[in-house]
Structure formats: structure tokens, C-alpha cells
């Protein structure tokens, strides 16, 4: 195994492709811009360059345990180096107008394209669904498509196309060549280890193991850390920043593990939000609910807990929920490991207690006691692929008489950080869990928060939402 200097390798369709970074090609070039610079991959479109429209959707196949998994991604949010060792599939690879793939054929036959600009993106999202190899329910189809916007059709024919083409034992060009692809991808992975890119302007590191990553973190305390990179990528695509040093943890082994015990789950910060979402459904339903309205399929396939927590955004979807579950973060540097409650970790607007030599390596979520009632809520203008106007997660513990033993109320979007409604909690603790007390408590929330007005909503509406979510929680738990 060697360290690859300034070079990455991946498959573009079937073709082994090598990119050498130099002063002309920046390591923060997005996959979208790279593809559009090629003569034969102009099917991939830029609609927004921020992961909100999905016109640039591509599918990336990854090998693990001799199997390929096909997932959809927004190519505008992926930096080139993270393609290393993977298969990048674009709409051109899927099929041509002379020889359409079953997904493309279905889209034609259901009249699912009008202006056609969003269509390559939809094709790729459907292609990734097709490759899941099962008969998808309507919910599954919708979930696969929430990251793609269409302004012409009204979506109905696109859903029909999905029903038409997706099923079991799907066979296509890619399944025929699967073994060969696996061999090729393994070949790349076996020949290389760490990737180090330095083009004279930017440095970009893709450490393959945690020790390497921590060493880099110590050596380069000012480096930008990315994992999924869905947030950091916007600094490049929207603000046109040149980020000088990046440590990309997306290929770091050891961060992608979920360890389950009777007491708690330890989720590596490199596990994608989508993989977490699928896993936690039965054990942590409030987390599942929130992650189900987190971004879109494309974003969830890329984004990670590490990034969502580490960015300490006041509107990060996972933080109120993880706080309500009383999660603990595991921080590590080259010398030691320490644990800190998430509730204490975030100290201010995008500020945390992480030291400049540490990485968040895992989140420990205790399995709730049977008498803990935890529920999460998100209010946004649009249900899917929208950032919270207000989010909340409540954890209610009742005593044997049914009184409130302890309640934890965490709100996002109401202050500079995710924060607790302490006054309201104090009022409720020890009281009866009844409508009268809830109505009184709702008034107190106004004292806990002074929200701002912005593009998403005014302060007044945010206050109403925060109050109402408590009522909603009460109403949802009245019989529990």
C-alpha cells in the first residue's frame, strides 16, 4: 500500500479514470464541474449548486464485502478526491437514446419529462432506486425523489415511471458487469492507501485510518474538517471560497461503525445519515422521524452525524434529538479519548468545546428507559428538503402517579444554538401532565426564547410554532 500523491483513481462508468491535481485542477473541484468540463458528460446539470434541486444527481457505486451498493448523490456537493476507489455513474453511462435503460424507457413512456433539464437528475435517482432490487412502495419512491425538483410536470408521471420500472431481479448492464467492476475497484483500493494532494494552492488529505487522521488534525489545527462535506461544499459552490487545507474523513476506516449494546448505541461519526436513519427506526424512533425529514436522499447519503453536530448550527436537525436522548460525544486526539455530553458540547453560535487537535469520532446514544417518552418535531415551510424553521425534541419522564418527574425540552431555530426551554421545564416538573398545565407552560416558552425573523419565518410565527409543538407533544402522548 502506498500513499497516492496528487492523484486519484476511480471508474467513470466502466472506464478507469485518473485525475492528477495541479495548479489547473483544484481538489475542491466539484464532481459536477468536473463532469461538465468533459465533452461527453453534459447530461449532468447545474440547477442550484447547493444540493437543493438534484439536477446534478449522479450515482456512485461502492464495493464492500464483494458487493456493490448504488447510491444517489448531488454531484455539486462532492469534491473530486472523495471519488477515489469508487464507480461514478452518470446519465450517459446508464443508457443512450438509441439504447435506453429500463428506467429511461419508463420515463419516456409515462411522459415524465417536459423541459427535460431536471430529467437526468431524476433518471439517476430512479436508477439508484432500480438498483435496490425490490418492488418499492409509493413512500419509498417519494423518499427516493424528494431531492429532485421538477418545475414542469407536477411529478405524477415521474412517480408512475418509478412504479413501472422498479421491481425485483432487475437486470441491466451494470449487474452483468458487476464482477468486473468489483475487481477493478478492489484493484484501486489495494494499490493505494492515503491520498495527499498539494497543488501549491490547496492541500487536501484523505486519511485512510483514524491514527493518520488524528495526526493530521494535530499537525494542521486550522484545517477544515469534512466528512460528508454537504455543508462545507457550499462555501466553495456558493461563496466561491478557496479553502486552503482540508482533511476529508470520508474514507477513514473506523468512523463508519455502529456498535450496539443493551445499554447504548455507539454510532461512528462517519456513518451516513441515511444509514443511521435506516438502523435506528425501532430503537430510537424520534431520531428516525427527524432524520426522515433531514435533507433529501442525496444529502443523507453523503452527510454524517459528525458534520451535523460539528457544525453546531442552531438549525441542525439532529442536535435537539440527540440532546433529548442525552447523547454523549466521543472526542479523540492522538493521545487520549474523552467523552462529553452533547448538551454541554455546543457553547455558542457555531461554537463547540472541541479542541483544535480533536475529532468527534462517535456519538453514544443511551437506549431510553421504557418510561421515557421521546418525540421529535420539525416545522419547515416545505416538508421535505427544507431547513427547520423550528425543531423540537421532548423527553418526558412520568412518575408512577403519572405526574411529570422530569421533562427535557430542546428547541432548534429559536436561539443561536439548540437550547433548552429551562423556565418551561422548571414549571412543568412535578406537575400533572394535563391540558391545563400545558396551556400555562406554552405561555412560558415565550420567556425562554427571543427568536429572530429571517427568510424562513418571522419571530412571531416561531414563537407560535414553539408553543404549539409542546401542545402537539402533549396531544401525541396523552394516552401513553
Amino acid at each position: 500500500m502506498t500513499t497516492n500523491k496528487n492523484k486519484i483513481q476511480f471508474l467513470l462508468g466502466d472506464k478507469l479514470t485518473e485525475i492528477e491535481f495541479n495548479s489547473e485542477i483544484s481538489p475542491t473541484t466539484t464532481v459536477l464541474n468536473y463532469l461538465r468540463s468533459l465533452p461527453n458528460h453534459k447530461g449532468v446539470k447545474e440547477g442550484c449548486a447547493e444540493g437543493d434541486c438534484g439536477a446534478c444527481t449522479v450515482v456512485i457505486a461502492e464495493e464492500s464485502n464483494n458487493k456493490l451498493t448504488y447510491k444517489s448523490f448531488d454531484s455539486c456537493l462532492i469534491f473530486l478526491p472523495s471519488l477515489h476507489g469508487k464507480q461514478l455513474i452518470t446519465v450517459e453511462n446508464v443508457g443512450t437514446s438509441e439504447k435506453l435503460h429500463p428506467v429511461q424507457e419508463a420515463l419516456v413512456e409515462t411522459h415524465a419529462s417536459q423541459c427535460g433539464f431536471c430529467t437526468p437528475g431524476f433518471t439517476m435517482s430512479l436508477f439508484s432506486l432500480y438498483k435496490q432490487d425490490f418492488i418499492p412502495s409509493k413512500e419509498f419512491i417519494i423518499d427516493a425523489l424528494t431531492g429532485n425538483l421538477c418545475r414542469c410536470t407536477g411529478y405524477k408521471p415521474i412517480i408512475e415511471a418509478a412504479h413501472k420500472c422498479c421491481g425485483e431481479h432487475n437486470h441491466d448492464y451494470f449487474s452483468e458487469n458487476e464482477n468486473e467492476t468489483i475487481l477493478k475497484l478492489k484493484g484501486i483500493k489495494n494499490s493505494t492507501n492515503n491520498i495527499v494532494i498539494d497543488n501549491g494552492i490547496q492541500k487536501y488529505f484523505l486519511p485512510s485510518n483514524l491514527a493518520e487522521a488524528l495526526q493530521l488534525r494535530t499537525d494542521l489545527p486550522n484545517a477544515t474538517i469534512i466528512n460528508g462535506g454537504t455543508d462545507i461544499a457550499l462555501r466553495v459552490t456558493k461563496k466561491h471560497e478557496i479553502i486552503t487545507t482540508i482533511i476529508d474523513l470520508s474514507q477513514t476506516i473506523g468512523l463508519k461503525k455502529i456498535t450496539k449494546t443493551d445499554k447504548e448505541w455507539i454510532i461512528g461519526t462517519g456513518v451516513s445519515i441515511e444509514d443511521v436513519r435506516i438502523e435506528v427506526k425501532d430503537i430510537f424512533p424520534a431520531l428516525y422521524e427527524m432524520l426522515s425529514v433531514f435533507g433529501s436522499k442525496q444529502i443523507r447519503n453523503k452527510a454524517t452525524f459528525g458534520g451535523n453536530i460539528g457544525s453546531a448550527s442552531p438549525i441542525g436537525d439532529s442536535t435537539p434529538v440527540l440532546m433529548a436522548y442525552n447523547s454523549t460525544l466521543v472526542l479523540k486526539n492522538t493521545k487520549a479519548e474523552r467523552e462529553i455530553k452533547l448538551r454541554e458540547f455546543i457553547t455558542g453560535y457555531r461554537k463547540t468545546q472541541m479542541s483544535s487537535d480533536e475529532l468527534i469520532i462517535a456519538v453514544k446514544i443511551p437506549i431510553p428507559n421504557t418510561n421515557e417518552i421521546i418525540k421529535s418535531y420539525k416545522v419547515s415551510k416545505r416538508k421535505d428538503l427544507d431547513i427547520s424553521t423550528v425543531s423540537a425534541c421532548f423527553n418526558l419522564l412520568k412518575d408512577e402517579k403519572g405526574k411529570i418527574k422530569e421533562i427535557f425540552m430542546f428547541y432548534g431555530g429559536m436561539a443561536a444554538t439548540t437550547s433548552r426551554a429551562s423556565k418551561t421545564e422548571d414549571f412543568l416538573n412535578g406537575k400533572e401532565w394535563n391540558r391545563e398545565n400545558i396551556e400555562k407552560a406554552m405561555k412560558l416558552i415565550d420567556e425562554d426564547y427571543t427568536p429572530i425573523s429571517d427568510a424562513r419565518a418571522g419571530a412571531e410565527a416561531r414563537k407560535i410554532m414553539a408553543r404549539n409543538l409542546l401542545m402537539k407533544f402533549y396531544n401525541d402522548t396523552i394516552n401513553l
Binding site: 449532468v44 442550484c48 425538483l149 410536470t153 407536477g154 415551510k381
Partner: protein, 766 residues
Amino acid sequence: MKKIYHESAKYHVSGEAIYIDDIEVNNQLLHGYVYTSPVAHAKIKSYNYSEAQKLAGVHAILNYKDIPGHNQMVPVFQDEVILAIDEVTFIGQAIFLIAAETEEIARQASKLIEIEYEELPAILTIEDAIQNGVTVQPSRKIETGDINEAFKNAKNIIEGELKIGGQEHWYLETQICLCIPQEGRDMKVFSSTQNPSETQLLVAEALGLHKMNVEVEMKRMGGGFGGKETQGNHVAVWSAILANYTKKPVKIRLFRDEDQKMTGKRHRFLIKYKAAFDENGLISAVDFEQNADAGATSDLSMSILERAMLHAENSYYVPNMRIIGHAWKTNLPSNTAFRGFGGPQGIAAMETIIDRIARTLKKDSAEIRNINFYALFERNVTPYGQKIENNRLPKIWEQIIETSEYFARRKQVNEFNQKNEFYKKGLALTPIKFGISFTTAFLNQAGALVHIYNDGSVLVNHGGTEMGQGLHTKMRQIAAKELGIDYENVKVNATNTTKVPNTSPTAASSGADMNGMAVKDAIDKIKKRLSTFIACKFGATYRDNTSDAENLVYDRNIIYDWKQPERKISFNDAIKAAYLGRINLSSNGFYATPGVNFNRDRGFGKPFFYFSYGMAVSEVLLDILTGYTKILRTDILHDVGESLNVDLDKGQVEGAFIQGVGWCTTEELKYDSKGNLLNHSPDTYKIPGVNDIPEIFNVNLLKGYPQPGTIHRSKAVGEPPFMLSFSVWLAIKDAISSIKNHEIEPNFQIPATNENILLSIENLKK
């Protein structure tokens, strides 16, 4: 019948469809960038871009003095400059143009430009604009009957105001143009425009050339929706100026946020209304004052306002009516065409009146609508004097009331609301009557150029542009049907100003109507020559008697004499023979919509060739704690005459409806106190997603009612169904209203965002 798919579908799904940004250009290509005003209203005191010019890779930085021809963007009103001179009047107004080797360099250069402004007071709301009292053009009025008398005798009167928000087009493909200099100073322009002829005119005027020197080509747009009717011209003119100066190809592609900040939107309106009605809800008089936010310049505001006024009564007969319209000047980007073109705003206020009458009288709003509909033989003249012919409202009402089970569901909704505190359902039926034609009469003309090559293949050129609506598909179908040949043997070319001159914009839903007729006209001319030749040939073969050219039928790739069917020839053989016989197999075609006229000063005439009709019933579920709404079911019955292509037309109906739902619900434009648009990207500007469509979505076209006098008895479809989304909007209002048992009129506006819904509910609780 064989299904005809969108003619580009297989290219769309494979990524092979070429949009302007996909065109390969030589390595001389420069990227254009527009330096725009960051302030809403200011004097430009001084500027300096010498540092920016020095940046390596920068080829040009130009100001208004560098424009070789007219510094003018609007052909009619002449009130919008291409580049600011000494004053800026909105945020996003172009001041300088930059051409550089990469987008990145151009952006860096723009950061090096120094400019000093002296800020002036800015008008940023309609309320302030009304106070300020400045309109972009003189106000208009339409009046019929005697409203004063009617209000004096009225049993019931309601009065109020409706706030209607704007809408961003959000075409997936942002504004884009590629200009390639040709010999001399000629310019070839690849523009994403709904109006190639106007783009051609404005580029010519900006460069000081004639239209013959400028060729505009438009293959396909990645969505238009009206946003590229005039405002595609801006990037075209800017890139042409840069290409003309640098003598290199120049492309300008607006970045999404720039596009949202710089371009105009659907007009915001503030409509004041007063209506009189009797105890049954029959309306006797309506008085409207429509106040539109025109933005900084005229653009199309007067035509849009005119359509708002001409649709102020929607589908209802109002014997006494006055509509006053103002297009107020504000310091915002000039608002522009958007599907419906003012119609939606005008209709929203009328539907609000109906809804309020129902609440006032404690009746069902659908019944109020029914008694006020235009009737077939009386009560059938509009406030502007046009008689309603071929009225499909009664038929549609009859069918949709039944298929949607409206009255049974009304009962179910009421029962549900009695039982549930935190979830409420709402139900509404809304109609649309939409006038088809440009209200500016001269625009109602179209041209085509059809070639039949001597191998029998057919190439159609026409003046319309393809923005996804399937216009080219319909034109192919029309040509194939007229020539009696297979659809596959016809192709439609990219729209090009050198093929068909002096075209009107593809707008007002008129694309298929007018261009279809022009294509037919061209084919009729060729067929006349061809038939004469073939009849003569038949006559020569069968010597006993002659064939009459008029008896020749073109069907299934064969031309035959219907009186003597044994006399036949395959289409391809006929074409070969005609070619050898030196027959002209190419023709242009032309169409002018007959009988339309409108006197603007009198507010009277027959502005529309015909009307399109439709109705929708929608049921929503409202979570009153979060303001979140879900459309449970929508039934639509829409009239397109005899559909040219049922699948394409249904696609238009569904797409327009959902776009309307977006405008009515989640699409919101907020500005800060300086006039900055806050929702300038899809991060905060939310168009409907896949999960926002009705759970049950039944869309049907009215069957059995062909339209007389149109191409293959079809009707326009692009815009009208947009307004069927009012069924969702008013169903939401119905749900809110049920909280207080429909006893209190809730505050309501467009859009009904979850925020506005929650505020309305809070207000009800007070």
C-alpha cells in the same frame, strides 16, 4: 391511437438533449459576468475599474458608453436601460459587463471594481408606492352597468383587501445566452428565450445593426413559464455587447442566486374590493381596485395588468362592475410575465369575494359559484362587452360535482371537523375561464416554413419556441396528420429567426393554436401544388378520365383519389415524382387570429378568440398546530377542446396546477428594509416537491366538446390550469375557517405559508 411521446423525451432521459450551456464552443470562449447594483436607488457618483481590468484573463470591462447602438432594453415603452448611466433604480440592475477567460476570473474582477453611490429613498412596497403616487404608465379602467346604483340598492355588501405575493419562475435552467461573432459585425445568438424575434431586435439595436445582421437560434429552454418572454433578452444583449467588443464567443449564464435576485417575478398585487349581493348570494355589483407592483420599469406590466382586469370577474356574470388598474413603480427588479399573466391575481380577488359571500350567508361556496356562473343564453356578456360563446362551465360543473362527490364529501369534511380539534379539513371547488389571445391584437400572428425533401422527409420550422410544453411534438403531429404520413417522418427544427421572421413570443398559451395554423397553411400551399401535379399524373396514367386535385386524400403514407381509390401513389413516390417534375416542395405559412380587437381607452371589445374552461375540487388536511397542509385529493376537469395530444395536455394541466399550488402555499418572497430579496435560492425559496402533490390526483380532460375554428378543434392549455390551484388555496381557508365554525372571516392571503396560516389561526383565537 398510437401514443406520441415528447419529441425530445429520449434525449432528455439520456442526457443527450442539448441546452445552451451544453453547446461546445472553441477555446476562444469567454465568460461574461454582470456587475450589478447592490442598492435599490442611488446616484452613481464615481467608479473605477482600472484594477479589475489589469487582472490576468480579463478581456473587457464595459460600461454604458461602450454600447455601440441604443442603450435600451424595452422596445415599446423605452424606459429600461441596458446598462445604468448615472442612476440605479433596483438591486440587481446591470452597471458593468465583464468578459474573462473563466467565470472565476470574471467574478474576481467584479470584486476589484470600486463604485461610490449616493443613496436615494427607495420605494419597496405597494403601500409606499401608492403613497408615492407614481405609476409606470397611465392607469386603466373597465366599467359596465352602474355600480353606484347597484350598491345603493344592495341587500348585502362586503368590502376588503387581498394581498397577493409574487412568484419566482424557478425554471431549472437559469437565464443563459451564447453569442458567436460572425463575418463583419454579424452576430449569431443562441439564447434561452421565448421571444427570439424580440431578442434579435434588441441585440441589433444595442449593436447598431439591422435585424438581418442578427441570427437568433433557440433549440429548447430548460423551462420558461414567462420568465424568458422579455427577461431572456437581458443576458442576450449583454453577451452580444461583450462578444461584439471582444470579437470572441461570449456566454453569460446567471448563477441561481443572481438569477433570483436580478430578474423580475410574478407581480405582487394589492386588490381592494367591494361587492353587492342578494340573500341567495347572487352578485349585483363588484368594484375592484387592482394595484400591481410593476417594479422599476414597464416591461410587460401594462399587458399583465390588462389581463388581470380582463379576468377580474373570472367565470361569473357581474352586471355592474368597475375595475381600476394601477401599475405602481417601485425600486425592485421589473416584474414580468409568468404563466397566467395577471389572470391569477385578478381571479384570486373574485374567488375571495365568492368565498366571503358563502361565509356571510352560511352557504356552501360551490353553490354560490353555481348561481353566479355565466349562463348559456343570457347573463353571458363580460364587463368589457365580449359575448361568451361555447360556454363549457355548466357541463364541467355538472360532471365534476358528480365525479368528485362534492356534496357528500362536504358533509364528511364537516363531520371530521366537528370531531377533531387539532386537525381540520377543508374543501373547495373553483372554476376558471381564461381568455385566449394576446390582448395586444397585432401579436396574434404566426409564421412557419415547411420543407419536404425529395426523400419524403419533412422539416418544419415555425415561430414558436420549445420550453418543455411539447409544442414541437404537437407541430410534428399536425404536419404528419395534414400530410397523411408517419409522425417519425417529420422533424421540427430549432426556432431560428432566419427561417421564420417577425414572430410573436411563445406566450399567452397561444403557441400551438397559432403556429399550428401557420404550419397547416404552409402544408396546404404545398399540397395544392402537389395535388395538381399528382392529379395530372393520375390523369396521364388512367387515360379514360381525369382526377380532380381537390379529390386527393393524404392518408397513411399514400395519396389517393377518394372518388377513384385505385388511383393511388405512395407519399414518397409522389414526392420523388414531384421533384423530378420540378414542383416547389417548400412553402412558408402564416396565420392571423381572426376577429380580435380591444379598445384600451374604452375598455371594450373582443380581446379573445375564445375562452378555456376548467374546474377543480381539492380537499386538504390542516395541522393547526404547525400550519402544515396536505392535499388529500384533487379532481380536475379541464377543457382543451379536442386534444392534440392527451398525454401532453394532461402534463400541462398537472404541471400548471402544481406550480399554482406552489404560488398559493410555500413560495414566498421576503425583502429586507433595503430591498434585498431574502429568498434568493432554493434553500429558502420552496417550490413544490414530489411529496407536495395531492395524495389522490384525478386529472381529466372534458370529452366531446371540440372548439370551432381552431387547429384540429383543439384549445390552448398552457396557462389556464395554473388557476385551478385556487381550489387548494380556498380549501386551506375553509379548514382555517372551520376552527371557529365558519362564523368569522379569517385573515388570508397568497401565499398561505405555514407562517401565514398560524398567524391567521392565532388571530381567530383572539
